[in-house]
Symmetry: C2
Subunit: 365 residues, 2 copies
């Protein structure tokens, strides 16, 4: 049997609370189903800075590189607002993405039927929504050089960031989007700002070529990123798969997540290229929500996004499609039952804490 080595990086804030529920689930699966997961743990973010003076230690980075998959909680909090830029909590996450070459970030924005009413959008606009944002994750303005602040003298400084995209980067991320579209509604919308950015011109060109050469059976649309943001708010159901760069993907996927009224529910997967021999992809799974320091330690955090991230992990890293489906159904069933953590509470529903929610999902699984 193939190995199932998981590295758990719970991080800061509500990360550890949410991760605790996944740990219970993994223990139950090993116990009941003999799933054979082997877990190890490490530090990332503010807690890693406190322990090692870095947002992730080289030792933990090595563990991440060796693991079959990484489960990531969340990083950051006011405690670390003043730490130097190079060791800020986010640097740990960015290093994981870069060193593991996790170029493909998959962010499903799904509106759980039980929660359609809790969106700030009209129910008919979001009910049944199921879109997938495929965000490029190792390029663009996140990593381009120069990236610096220069002192110009006279009290003037200059802040510089560089957006860089090469053909191969755009090709491989659009390939992922087209492949995934084929398993869904066969429709990709590519978003950039080609009317202002040269990287956008190249993006548009390469997506168009990749489509023509290898994926002509998939419907492809192009949209300017600002118009795309508007269309997401106006009528999100027009989309199936959206493919876009690192920075636009950051903005657009957060907006898409918020549309669903379920930000505490949404998972993500960050994948590398398949290894030439083993075909295995490096992978990291992470809830879309952040560390939510304001509610951490209170036992009220919603563990569903973290649990759903583990479902994605089973699906994409271990081919455990049945188990992933079952876990997702268990989440939906618990919601249908009326159980709610505080962030998604509405009239007539039953409020539960983090551990009760985790227990209920495990019980239904």
């Amino acid at each position: 049997m193939a190995s199932k080595n998981l590295l758990l990086l719970a991080g800061d804030g509500i990360g550890p609370e949410a991760m605790a529920e996944v740990k219970k689930l993994i223990a139950a699966m090993n116990d009941r189903l003999g799933s054979g997961f082997v877990t190890d743990e490490g530090l990332v973010g503010g807690c890693a800075y406190d322990a090692h003076g870095a947002a992730i230690s080289d030792a933990d980075m090595a563990k991440a590189m060796a693991a079959d998959a990484v489960l990531f909680g969340a990083v950051g909090g006011p405690k670390w607002d003043a730490v130097p830029y190079e060791v800020r909590p986010e640097a740990g996450l960015l290093r994981l993405r870069k060193d593991m070459e996790l170029f493909a970030n998959l962010r499903p924005a799904i509106c759980y039927p039980a929660l359609a009413a809790s969106s700030s959008l009209k129910q008919e606009v979001v009910e049944g929504l199921d879109i997938l944002i495929v965000r490029e994750l190792t390029g663009g303005v996140y990593f381009g050089e120069p990236k610096q602040i220069i002192d110009l003298g006279n009290g003037q400084k200059r802040g510089i960031d560089t957006q860089v995209y090469d053909t191969f980067e755009i090709e491989r991320i659009s390939g992922v989007a087209f492949e995934l579209a084929r398993t869904r509604r066969n429709h990709v919308t590519s978003m950039e700002k080609r009317n202002v950015m040269k990287s956008g011109v190249l993006w548009n060109e390469v997506v168009t070529q990749t489509h023509k050469a290898r994926y002509a059976d998939v419907k492809l649309d192009h949209m300017l990123a600002d118009a795309g943001g508007m269309q997401l708010v106006r009528w999100p159901k027009q989309f199936d798969v959206i493919v876009t760069d690192n920075l636009f993907g950051d903005m657009l996927s957060d907006i898409a997540a918020m549309l669903t009224g379920s930000i505490g529910m949404l998972p993500s997967a960050s994948l590398g290229a398949p290894d030439a021999k083993t075909k295995k992809r490096k992978a990291l799974y992470e809830p879309v929500h952040g560390s939510a320091p304001d509610i951490s330690g209170k036992g009220i955090a919603n563990p569903i996004a973290m649990i759903a991230s583990f479902a994605m992990c089973m699906r994409y890293s271990f081919g455990m499609v049945t188990e992933a489906d079952r876990l997702e159904s268990a989440i939906a069933a618990v919601l249908d039952q009326g159980l709610r953590t505080r962030d998604i509470l509405s009239e007539g529903m039953t409020e539960v804490g983090t551990t009760q929610m985790g227990d209920a999902i495990i019980a239904k699984f």
Copy 2:
């Protein structure tokens, strides 16, 4: 009496149709009230390319520089999709912004009560919404160098754009935001990605310093731009003035506009620094909507954003506050009367075309 020289650049698509209504209004004001507007016209965008091979000619650019204010319609359309990057329709608008040094883009997102129901958001989320996005307009990734596509050989190209911000640019745009906040609800939210971008670190630092030194009476919040986008969708009424950079401002202002359900209604102003002697600012006024080629020439375009842009022009360029107020009230009154262009039509309302809408507003003025 101070001069009131207006340059009208109607542009492409529905630009000319919307501008025609403003021309009627100006004629009526000159006639009835002796307002003394003097207008000239020029070409910008695709129509300028067709006539001169450039998105704006040097002669029209000179007219824009000399005018007291520019009224701008919209540019672009599928006809010019394949023209070279340097002369694409948008280049005309970008040159106007850059050469006139229009660094401050004011984009009010107002939900007209009569239209609250037509938003994709729940009525209670947007009813009474009145926020102002102050977008930096002459810096950032729009204009930073290098901005190019390099051929790397082997079928590989590299697209590069550069985000650059200097202290003085951040200082002056945040000054505008703080000043405007004082005339409103005294609250500024600054948005950047300081956790990823060095220009964001500098942005945050300079806004904080400017606040401390000169505007400590105004409430200031900082938000990461992705979280800001989410909060705009979740509960936009938490904001008063949002100040942000050129690219984030492009995305966030479009999203804010869409929230109101009134994208065809929203104006914008782009302002330069006050002249040291005359105190006059260069200025350009422009609807937020684009050229909408799909509906152009049909007489159904909504002229309200263009007319409201002229109201902003009277307010900011000519101190005609009474007239601006009256024009805005006339727009609201016509909506209350139930007149609607097709884009904002809803049950029980009366559909009218572009000229009828213009006539009705002029009649109420």
